[in-house]
């Protein structure tokens, strides 16, 4: 190796070493863990290899509950937050005064501590013996009965989780979409106006196709992010998510690793790999669909 090569490797060394120890090795290791049956953390021994860990996880009611919760969360929050962000960004693009102020406000949740602000949502939605909470107060204005969103029925808890998740992910989506809308050349809109194109048609025939790549990007990152939901749930329902019936897949992984279930790294690894496979599959399907749509778009008149 010549001198300059050696120097280059020296510059790379810190990053490469850290990545090797804390990123590359763990990925391989987690695969191995997931196939080591009956791993004992104290003695660092195991009694066999095979699919038992996967089988255990897939039959664990807590895991199935977590998978169900995660899927519900994904299916609700991704379309709602993306659609809402699109509507808000389009509205922002159509105004001039106060636009900056609105943008700044909308971005605030991005820089807040998810755990801390989640507690505010908990307080807002919670019903205790002292108070019904603010949300229930407002529900009463519409004649709806008090519901405990934090310790009550499952659907109510799911609603709060979705609401908070959307609140947290909106800033990024609004930011990206406002940028995408601003980058559309205004001449396209002028050309459309000369031809008497209606607002709706301009939006669906010009604006939407032009920002489609960014929408696809948002949907894919949105899916990935929502599948990894965890700290939002902890903020609302506490660390014992299994007891609340609100666990997510990531939460299950961590619980298996540490916490109330006590260390089972093999089960955690199997669950993490199942999550990874799910996310990978969904992302591939997303990419395929978006490619199909963008190619198919040619033939839609």
């Amino acid at each position: 190796m010549d001198r300059s090569s050696r120097k280059a490797w020296l510059y790379l060394l810190p990053a490469a070493a850290l990545l090797a120890v804390f990123l590359v090795y763990p990925v391989i290791d987690v695969l191995i863990y997931s196939f080591e049956e009956g791993f004992n953390f104290a003695s660092q021994s195991y009694w066999g290899t095979g699919w038992y860990n996967y089988s255990y996880v897939l039959h664990d009611p807590y895991f199935l509950q977590a998978v169900q919760n995660t899927f519900v969360l994904v299916i609700i929050t991704v379309p709602v937050s993306t659609g809402l962000a699109l509507a808000i960004s389009a509205a922002l693009a159509s105004i001039r005064p106060l636009r900056n102020l609105y943008q700044t406000i909308y971005f605030l949740p991005y820089v807040t501590n998810t755990l801390a602000v989640g507690l505010v949502f908990m307080v807002l939605f919670q019903k205790t013996e002292y108070t019904d909470g603010l949300v229930n107060l407002m529900l009463r204005w519409f004649g709806a009965g008090p519901i405990d969103f934090i310790n009550g029925p499952h659907w109510a808890k799911m609603f709060v989780l979705c609401f908070y998740t959307i609140w947290v992910v909106m800033p990024f989506k609004i930011l990206v979409l406002t940028g995408a809308l601003a980058s559309v050349n205004p001449d396209y809109y002028k050309a459309a106006r000369v031809d008497g194109t209606s607002r709706t048609r301009i939006f669906f025939r010009i604006t939407l196709p032009m920002i489609a790549p960014m929408l696809v990007y948002l949907v894919i990152t949105g899916f990935i992010g929502a599948f990894k939901a965890y700290s939002d749930a902890v903020a609302l329902f506490g660390t014992d998510l299994n007891a609340a019936g609100m666990n997510t897949i990531v939460g299950y992984v961590y619980d298996m690793l540490y916490g109330d279930s006590g260390g089972y790294p093999s089960y955690a690894s199997a669950a993490a790999i199942i999550l990874f496979v799910i996310v990978l599959t969904i992302t591939c399907i997303n990419l395929l669909i978006s490619r199909r749509v963008s190619e198919g778009g040619v033939h839609i008149q």
Partner: protein, 373 residues
């Protein structure tokens, strides 16, 4: 159908922080575009010509004044009810639509009794595509086309709804020099073929002169002069128009008129008889082709070099009264000038010399002795 602008004015709120008040982009502009003509709206950038075009097509609402298409007052009409087709400087072709879809786009907006069937839309689009010779490209996307082809698609899209008026904003500025020549002839041909009243905006005087039936020269939102290109060139109304038209540009001298004779500054001998012009300082503009080499001519210039251009010869020289660093004279052949001589003497063609008031730069006409004009 002719287009008539009456006292058209557009004021914008001043941009930038700390500034208040308004900027007048177009100031009581009045002119008439004759029916079926190709008209060049000409001026340096920022002169308000694009704003004028936008008001004609309805994208901007005038602050004051009126716009007539024929007898109809369209000042308040929305763009789609004016029957205008517009070609944008960067063509504004929708990148996600094919050429055919781009051309049919305006037709799909038609509503009510004007609504067209799919087959009819296609028929019209193909017909228009044939007119601009892009019928082979209908299934391509805009990014797969050359600049010239994109330009034609943009023109086809503007023409497909058979507009009463065709508007082109700097149609040639995005093309390279060779395509520019070709495309401007193409625009000329399409306009002749359709007979649609056409207005195009340009900052390139050569472009405007070469294809327009009629040119309108603007500066700072104010109309400077309008007329047929040759007429405007031969008879500029003011110093700005004289300087703006013509390549090489007109040579401007600091001069004075005394007793009906023109004196260049710093010279004792008169250079030209200018009967009818009152005494006083003037700007004297002399076209490059207005110089005639003459050993006894009254204008003596220091010769810098002689450039042989083939058919013509360009003589580059200097004169203390000239406002530019060098004077360019174009003469038909070179045998009258010896490149080794330090000085060259010129006589002047009276019809190529224009005098302008020093204060307001207006043209000061003088009677010509000959009967050339």
């Amino acid at each position: 159908m002719n287009i008539k602008l009456v006292g058209l004015t557009k004021r914008f709120p001043a941009r930038g922080k700390g500034t208040s008040g308004e900027v007048t982009a177009v100031d009581s502009l009045s002119f008439t575009v004759p029916d079926g003509k190709l008209v060049g709206l000409l001026g340096p950038s920022g002169c308000g010509k694009s704003t004028t075009l936008n008001m004609i097509c309805g994208l901007e609402t005038p602050t004051a004044g009126q716009i007539f298409f024929g007898e109809e007052d369209v000042t308040a009409a929305p763009p789609e009810l004016r029957g205008v087709g517009m070609v944008f400087q960067n063509y504004a072709l929708y990148p996600h639509l094919t050429v055919l879809q781009n051309i049919t786009f305006p037709l799909e907006n038609l509503k009510g009794d004007k609504k067209l069937s799919k087959a009819e839309m296609r028929r019209r689009a193909v017909e228009t595509a044939r007119l601009v010779q892009i019928e082979d490209l209908l299934d391509r996307k805009p990014r797969e086309l050359s600049g010239g082809q994109q330009q034609r698609v943009a023109i086809a899209r503007a023409l497909v709804k058979t507009p009463r008026v065709l508007l082109l904003d700097e149609p040639l500025s995005n093309l390279d020099a060779r395509l520019r020549l070709q495309t401007r002839e193409e625009i000329c041909k399409i306009q002749r073929a359709t007979g649609i009243t056409t207005i195009f905006v340009t900052h390139d005087q050569e472009e405007a002169m070469s294809i327009s039936d009629h040119i309108v020269v603007m500066k700072n939102g104010v109309l400077m002069q309008q007329g047929e290109p040759q007429q405007v060139y031969d008879d500029p109304a003011n110093l700005f128009v004289a300087k703006f038209l013509g390549t090489p540009p007109i040579n401007v001298f600091d001069a004075a008129v005394k007793g009906g004779k023109l004196y260049l500054k710093g010279a004792d001998a008169p250079v030209l008889d200018v009967p009818g012009v009152p005494d006083g300082p003037v700007w004297a503009g002399i076209r490059p082709e207005g110089f005639v080499p003459d050993g006894t001519g009254p204008v003596a210039c220091a010769l810098s070099r002689v450039e042989v251009l083939g058919r013509d010869v360009s003589i580059v020289c200097t004169h203390p009264a000239c406002q530019a660093d060098t004077i360019r004279a174009i003469i038909p052949s070179r045998n009258l000038v010896n490149a080794a001589d330090p000085t060259v003497h010129f006589a002047l063609k009276p019809d190529k010399v224009f005098l302008f008031d020093k204060a307001d730069e207006r043209r000061l006409p003088f009677a010509l002795s000959g009967a050339r004009r």
